[in-house]
């Protein structure tokens, strides 16, 4: 199993550490040709405007869209924005997932937070695993899911923080910043890892 992590900017190294710990080969992706032979791709946290601009400058938008048609992609925070069809703002997006996101939905950095969330679908990964500790940094929200996209996890007040559509996964928090690797294991399952 070989998973790529888009390494244009952001916390890609943190994702690679988790993948390696789970026994999976992880590679940095900066060019379209590096997508060949990957079983899945993670788009990390970072600044979505920077990642989008670099993807345009280095002709990665179309190759990433083509890749996503067949293979699983998971976006965390900036990556979730980049996967979406609509971010209420003019910036380059892959437009794969039928979700609307609101950037910086909780406010500026002083409002960044961590919280335990009940995420029932994680029972499938680890029965009795308990609440999930999620870290939100100038985080976006998934304002709405459309079409085949489905909400996977919500805050207590019902606001959507994770969604899935076919083989695409979006989380607005950062599983790569905590020791709990259930989301990475979930994504690896989506990519066919047992």
């Amino acid at each position: 199993m070989k998973i790529g992590v888009l390494a244009l900017q952001g916390d890609f190294a943190e994702h690679m550490v988790v993948l390696n710990r789970l026994g999976v080969e992880a590679v940095e992706v900066r060019h379209a040709k590096q997508l060949e032979g990957l079983d899945g791709l993670i788009i990390p946290g970072g600044e979505s405007t920077t990642i989008g601009k670099l993807a345009v400058d280095f002709n990665l938008l179309e190759p990433l869209r083509q890749y996503g048609k067949e293979k699983p992609i998971w976006g965390t925070c900036a990556g979730a924005i980049f996967l979406s069809k609509d971010a209420h703002r003019h910036q380059p997006l892959l437009g794969l997932m039928d979700i609307t996101v609101e950037r910086n939905a909780f406010g500026r950095q002083v409002a960044s937070f961590e919280v335990d969330v009940e995420i029932p679908m994680l029972e499938k990964i680890q029965p009795g695993g308990g609440p999930y500790h999620a870290v939100f940094i100038r985080a976006p929200l998934i304002e709405a899911v459309h079409g085949r996209a489905q909400a996977l996890a919500c805050l207590e007040d019902g606001r959507i923080i994770a969604a899935q559509e076919n083989h695409w996964l979006a989380t607005v928090f950062h599983p790569e910043l905590t020791a709990d690797d259930r989301f990475h294991r979930y994504f690896l399952q989506m990519a066919g890892y047992n």
Binding site: A7, Q9, D116
Partner: protein, 295 residues
């Protein structure tokens, strides 16, 4: 569990999101938009870039909050702002207006010649400068959630940035080879908190994100710092004191991503127009050197 704000994890976490990116000094909302369009991961809002602070002389203080607020309105990326070393009231003001990061910066005139700000009680995270590992870990001990090697701001001469990055990264490599019983003496020698020395040795890197700053003026400079092993770069005067800021800014962003690829570095370095004129550090009288501020 209730949501917890301002934990060290979220303070340090924002810096982790900036990794592999370029943070640019801007003095107007217009500059900030140019920086964002060029792919900056954050902007540093200030009244004068360091080269002008040098030229202007006098006391350099926190910028007018009005200016910072205009810049915060102009862009969607994080906005940082500087306060003077030890000036915790300037920091309180910057927190009150909601900046995303405070740089307790030697580029401004220090307000306290013995103490830095106790950064733990603040909700907003801090970045601080350092010349060596001891200074870096003292700042982390005071609550800094991000470190930048100082270099020599406003010169366009990268030599001090290299010296400080080599010092910090070299000391971490040296630490890796030490026996456990040597760590307390080493902590004493460099004046760093023991626990942070232990943590740094265990991690094999600084416990917080470490950018380079001070004198970076070209795409090659940015890539040099990245190859030396820092997590990202600050570019101050180097962009808006150059002939074509938008083009140079975009080129430095690309160079920071593709820092290991000399073909791309060659491509992005072409036709950038005039770099900032700069000032060779060896020609500056010692009393005018900024990097030695901070304790």
């Amino acid at each position: 569990m209730e949501a917890q704000v301002a934990t060290f994890a979220v303070k340090k976490g924002l810096a982790q999101m900036l990794k592999g990116g370029v943070i640019m000094d801007v003095v107007t909302a217009e500059h900030a938009r140019i920086a964002e369009d060029a792919g900056a991961v954050a902007v540093m809002a200030l009244e004068r870039v360091p080269a002008d602070i040098r030229a202007h002389g006098g006391v350099a203080r926190m910028s007018d909050p009005e200016l910072i607020l205009q810049i915060m309105d102009a862009v969607s990326i994080p906005v940082m702002a500087k306060c003077r070393i030890g000036h915790f009231v300037e920091a309180q003001i910057l927190e009150a207006i909601g900046v995303d990061y405070i740089d307790e910066s030697e580029v401004l005139t220090p307000a306290d010649e013995a103490h830095h700000i106790n950064k733990h009680p603040f909700k907003v995270p801090f970045v601080c400068g350092c010349r060596n590992l001891g200074e870096a870990l003292r700042r982390v001990g005071e609550g800094a959630a991000m470190i930048r090697t100082k270099g020599e701001a406003g010169t366009g001469d990268v030599v001090e940035a290299v010296r400080h990055a080599r010092s910090v990264l070299g000391e971490i490599r040296r630490l890796q080879g030490m026996a456990e019983e040597e760590l307390m003496a080493y902590a004493k020698e460099i004046g760093a908190p023991y626990e942070l020395v232990v943590e740094t040795r265990q991690l094999g890197r600084m416990p917080v994100v470490n950018f380079a700053a001070g004198g970076i003026a070209t795409p090659a400079d940015a890539a040099l710092m990245m190859q030396l092993g820092v997590d990202g770069v600050f570019v101050g005067s180097g962009i808006f004191k150059s002939g074509d800021p938008a083009k140079r800014a975009a080129a430095i962003v690309k160079a920071t991503t593709h820092y290991k690829d000399p073909y791309i570095l060659a491509e992005v370095s072409r036709n950038l127009g005039d770099p900032m004129v700069g000032r060779q550090i060896s020609s500056i009288p010692e009393a005018e050197l900024i990097a030695q501020r901070g304790w």
